[in-house]
């Protein structure tokens, strides 16, 4: 029997064919170019509420200590920035009073990660320029700002209006609902918690009491039930004679109100459960922006090659070897 017929016979061996296939696949990893494809990125304007009620500590940190809503929201945004695919861009604005204040136009999340992350980390309630918290006005203007920047919107707030809305309700949204997509993120626990109070040097000095805040908005016409209030007088006491009572000095996430706002503006509502979870919620709500990406085919080739080699070596062990080994020619 000559060498040629021996080689011919070896070429017919199933295990040789498997190994040769693996060799070809591994060789292919050196010439295969990554497959170009498009991925979904996002462009988003993140607006962070920095009003007083965001200082409420009703989240639990990793070590069980209470963490404020603002710190949790910042952690969630940083988590979001880290989770977005490269090429996505994020702009940051602060909200207090009745308007968002743009800190910077959209920044790319990978190449410029350090300044973006640093800027989110540096957000502080002390940056607030006024104490009011007119959520609906701020949200509507944020929607406008996002439309102007050509981005989606993530608006993080606890939904507590200060001063409280008048009985006639807040301002109406006059934009086109759904023109800007994105999330309203409700921060805070569902139960009431006290709001920390700070002095004019920024040091904490306790909590707000019932008498420290406006419990009822008494601008504009009185509510419909005013006539039944004690001491009601149409001219002298249109809101009743007794002082307003309420829980405006305590804070919880105002979910029904935020849902109403989300419906009016065409945004999606999501509750902030902790420092993670924003990426998934945003991915569902945001406009997908095509980004150039590439798929590395090498793991595919390598994986199949590995399976082939393992089949060659494992065959005798598994008994399937009869087929490979015992085959008579």
């Amino acid at each position: 029997m000559n060498a040629a017929s021996l080689v011919r016979r070896n070429l017919r061996d199933r295990r040789f064919q498997l190994l040769a296939g693996a060799l070809a696949l591994v060789a292919l990893t050196f010439v295969a170019r990554p497959l170009p494809l498009t991925r979904n990125g996002v462009e988003v304007l993140a607006v962070l509420d920095i009003t007083g009620s965001m200082n409420v500590r009703d989240y639990a940190g990793a070590d069980g200590k209470p963490v404020s809503r603002l710190e949790t929201a910042k952690a969630a945004l940083r988590d979001l920035v880290g989770a977005l695919p490269c090429g996505s861009r994020v702009a940051l604005a602060l909200f207090t009073e009745r308007r968002p204040f743009l800190l910077f136009a959209p920044i790319e999340v990978c190449a410029d990660f350090a300044p973006l992350d640093g800027a989110i980390q540096a957000v502080d309630w002390r940056m607030a320029w006024e104490g009011d918290s007119r959520i609906s006005a701020g949200l509507f203007r944020s929607v406008e700002m996002a439309a102007d920047l050509g981005t989606d919107l993530v608006f993080v707030t606890d939904g507590q209006e200060a001063p409280p809305l008048p009985s006639t309700g807040g301002p109406a949204f006059d934009g086109k609902p759904g023109a800007v997509r994105g999330l309203i993120v409700g921060a805070g626990a569902y139960g009431l918690s006290p709001i920390p109070r700070y002095n004019d040097r920024g040091r904490e000095i306790g909590f707000y009491g019932a008498g420290d805040v406006q419990q009822e908005n008494r601008f504009g016409p009185p509510p419909a039930d005013a006539e039944s209030r004690e001491g009601y007088n149409p001219r002298n006491a249109p809101f009743g004679a007794s002082a307003a009572t309420g829980t405006e000095h305590l804070s919880s996430v105002r979910e029904p109100y935020l849902r109403t706002l989300a419906q009016a503006t065409g945004l999606t509502y999501a509750h902030l459960d902790g420092p993670s979870g924003l990426p998934d919620a945003l991915a569902r709500a945001a406009t997908p922006r095509p980004l150039p990406g590439s798929l590395d085919l090498r793991p595919l080739f390598g994986g199949i090659a590995l399976a082939l080699i393992l089949a060659v070596f494992a065959a005798p062990l598994l008994g399937a070897g009869r087929f490979f080994i015992g085959k008579k020619v």
């Binding site: 070896n10 040769a20 591994v26 920044i107 793991p299 590995l306 005798p316």
Partner: protein
């Protein structure tokens, strides 16, 4: 030091599979009546062991390659020409008016838009400058921390001609802009660039703290005063009482002069004057600055695939060169006691 890491390190748990070739051979099994009948053959042994090693290499190499090995990126510090510039931008409402103090109309440019355009050119004109941006109105706002990512700084500057806020509280803004320099690198050229169209009284209680900070950090101080036409100049003495409340610009200038740090004020009454001032600052701030360069991480899986390829080549060659003694026996041409071909012997 070179640090190697893997993207899917859990896949490395599959590495023991690479020991499979030690137990099982890829070669054909041949029954011989007595293995002891063959003499010990050094070459056969060597070939047998190298085939095992090849199998080990082929499987191990693929497992490592699939786990995505890479050499971690490094940060290298080099020295270039540039400066650390902390930009303090006035975002009070009046910045949205023109230099003539009107609402911009037609081709007119607001003060904020002019400074936005010119600052954007300034940032990035030299590769190794580092910038930090702080905004101030009623409260100071940290916009971008000190960074050499000029794209991010330009994104921050792009936001400065949006509607501004209410007041000009320069003292707290100064404190935050100073804090942007950080503690390290004392021998770096540092510049604090204030862009504002007005001034405010600095509370005497804060003045001492600010003075101490300036003395510690010793930045070169530049004040780009965007003066509205007809409003008092930095050097104008008020006709009445000369108090900080009556002439805040003049007294802020006096305060800066008294700091003992290098200080220049540029009074710009139009976009050209602003461009001129920025050009001067650029020329003045020319000192060596250490900057960091990020070396990207390097993919090492190519090497692992290469190792696997070598192993596979040997395995395939072994399979190709395989002889089958049982075949010969059946044909009756070879006596069974004849030594088997090297490769199949150890495999048996």
């Amino acid at each position: 030091m070179m640090r190697v890491s893997a993207e899917h390190s859990w896949l490395l748990w599959l590495l023991p599979l690479a020991l499979l070739p030690l137990a099982v051979s890829s070669q054909r099994l041949t029954r011989v009546s007595s293995i002891a009948a063959g003499p010990l053959d050094g070459l056969s042994r060597a070939i047998g062991w190298s085939l095992r090693a090849a199998g080990f290499l082929a499987i191990g190499g693929l497992v490592v390659a699939l786990s995505g090995p890479y050499r971690q990126g490094e940060t290298i510090t080099r020295t270039g020409i540039g400066a650390q510039v902390s930009i303090l931008v006035d975002r009070s409402g009046s910045m949205n008016e023109t230099f003539a103090g009107r609402q911009p109309s037609g081709a007119e440019e607001s003060k904020a838009a002019a400074s936005r355009r010119l600052l954007a050119d300034f940032v990035g004109s030299r590769a190794h400058d580092q910038f930090a941006v702080t905004a101030f109105s009623t409260a100071p706002m940290l916009v971008v921390p000190m960074t050499d990512r000029h794209e991010a700084v330009r994104a921050a500057i792009a936001a400065i001609d949006r509607p501004g806020l209410d007041y000009t509280n320069v003292a707290r803004g100064l404190a935050m802009a100073l804090s942007q320099f950080g503690a390290n690198a004392a021998n770096v050229s540092r510049a604090l660039l204030i862009v504002s169209d007005g001034a405010a009284v600095i509370d005497p209680r804060v003045q001492g703290a600010l003075r101490a900070e300036f003395a510690r950090i010793r930045p070169n101080l530049y004040w780009l005063f965007l003066r509205t036409k007809g409003s008092p100049s930095i050097s104008d003495k008020p006709s009445g009482e000369d108090t900080p409340q009556a002439a805040p610009e003049r007294h802020l200038d006096l305060f800066f002069k008294s700091l003992g740090t290098p200080y220049r004020a540029f009074e710009a009454e139009g976009a050209e004057a602003v461009a001129d001032a920025i050009g001067q600052i650029e020329r003045l701030e020319r000192d060596p600055i250490p900057y960091t360069e990020q070396r990207p991480r390097r993919d090492l899986s190519r090497w692992a695939y290469g190792l696997s390829l070598i192993g596979l080549l040997a395995l395939v060659a072994g399979k190709l060169a395989e002889a089958d003694p049982s075949l010969r026996r059946r044909r009756g041409r070879v006596d069974a006691s004849v030594v088997e071909p090297a490769t199949s012997r150890l495999a048996a």
